[in-house]
């Protein structure tokens, strides 16, 4: 099992999500964000960065996070990221498509473009389908796993921008599960965390 550290914001949704036993069994340590700058990351394989973190702390720790990846680590980033701290980050903010599913037979707009990837032995496209807050346009050489119909990345893996691996998604199930809303987000986490701990990345 990979040793996973999670940056812990102390907000209510994260308090629920990352203390939930079925997820916590895969988490080696919750690192409280105000103490992150002093934390020793050397024993971890994965650094998990949830959505909705404090901008000031995030930008202050940008280099430390990038160094972790450059040392061969796996960095996971969830949710909309309006600030530049991911290598080769090209985030395009889009109005959230909260309501697509109210129309019978409507298309969520999501495409599974790498069905052979091991993650999809753990989750299905339906488990990643609720709404998006925007898309990424990853650097050439990165692999998109889930995209919008126009090819914007909703989930991608980048092994070219650092010596390690960046797994980046616009999805924010850490927030929705933690705020007791939207069951698909729970199914996503049910598969994503075991994959992150033991799957093929």
């Amino acid at each position: 099992m990979r040793k996973i550290a999670v940056i812990f914001s102390g907000n209510a949704p994260h308090m629920r999500t990352f203390n939930e036993p079925k997820y916590k069994q895969y988490i080696e340590e919750l690192i409280y964000f105000p103490e992150f700058a002093e934390a020793d990351l050397s024993r971890f394989d994965v650094l998990f960065i949830p959505s909705q973190l404090n901008e000031g702390l995030l930008m202050k720790n940008k280099e430390k996070i990038q160094t972790f990846a450059d040392n061969g680590g796996i960095v996971v980033a969830f949710g909309p990221q309006p600030w530049e701290w991911i290598p080769n980050q090209q985030w395009e903010d889009r109005p959230a498509n909260f309501w697509w599913w109210l129309e019978p037979g409507a298309d969520s707009g999501l495409r599974l473009v790498a069905p052979e990837y091991d993650l999809f032995n753990y989750i299905t496209l339906a488990d990643a389908t609720w709404h998006q807050h925007g898309v990424y346009w990853p650097v050439e050489g990165a692999q998109k796993l889930i995209t919008t119909a126009d090819g914007g990345a909703v989930l991608y893996v980048d092994k070219v921008s650092s010596n390690g691996t960046w797994i980046v998604t616009t999805l924010d199930p850490d927030y929705h599960f933690g705020s007791y809303f939207m069951p698909a987000t729970e199914r996503f986490l049910d598969g994503f965390l075991p994959w992150l701990a033991k799957g093929e990345i």
Binding site: M15, Y32, S51, Q52, N54, L57, S179, Y180
Partner: protein, 208 residues
């Protein structure tokens, strides 16, 4: 300087608040982590956002209690997960079996919810569940309950007895975000604002 302090969690969803004229006209907005060093003397009220770092708030709970005991106001809309707010129980999610379990009722007429259609609190484009999904129960003994979910589950209350000040608690999201949606719920943000100013007059006027 605006005399209502708004603690900004600095999160991605909150970006709009930093450029909104409504916010800048009515609040002094500070990053949550500056709270410990902030002189609270000029402020009537503190608004604590639902994305706040509650580990940090618990470390500074004495500062919150002292502020309230000066006859001032704290507005909390969120899920309480650490005991930083006097008298407020930790959040309990409601068991949801059906969308009607999310139905909001007005328990008591109050200026903050005057003219607000309860259905527009319950439903957003026909979908229920956005407004509140649980409660801070038990509420303090003499608390004034304003809104509830079914089975008398209180979601919004005012507590004037736990401290010398007034605590407004809502177990949903930031009520000041309810604006410009062309619904009666838009009234909540401005009416809550007015209520803060009126309540402060009452508290400082000694007519408690």
């Amino acid at each position: 300087m605006k005399n209502i302090l708004f603690l900004d969690p600095g999160h991605a969803f909150g970006l709009e608040n930093r450029t909104s004229p409504f916010m800048s006209e009515n609040f002094t907005i500070i990053d949550q982590y500056v709270f410990a060093e902030t002189d609270l003397t000029p402020f009537k009220a503190i608004v604590v956002h639902d994305f706040i770092d509650q580990i940090y708030m618990e470390k500074h709970k004495e500062k919150i209690a002292a502020f309230l005991n000066e006859g001032k106001i704290v507005v909390w809309a969120g899920h309480l997960v650490t005991p930083w707010l006097p008298g407020c129980a930790i959040f309990t999610p409601k068991e949801i079996k059906n969308h009607t379990d999310y139905e909001i009722s007005i328990v008591k007429e109050h200026p903050v919810f005057e003219g607000v259609n309860p259905d527009e609190m319950t439903y957003n484009k026909g979908v229920a569940g956005f407004f509140a999904r649980g409660s801070h129960t038990p509420v303090p003994v003499d608390a004034e309950v304003l809104l509830s979910l079914p089975e008398d589950t209180p979601i919004t209350y005012i507590d004037r007895t736990t401290t010398k000040g007034t605590i407004f608690v809502h177990s949903g999201r930031d009520l000041f975000a309810l604006r410009m949606q062309s619904k009666t719920t838009d009234r909540i943000s401005t009416q809550l604002l007015q209520w803060i100013h009126d309540e402060y007059e009452r508290l400082q006027g000694g007519t408690n």
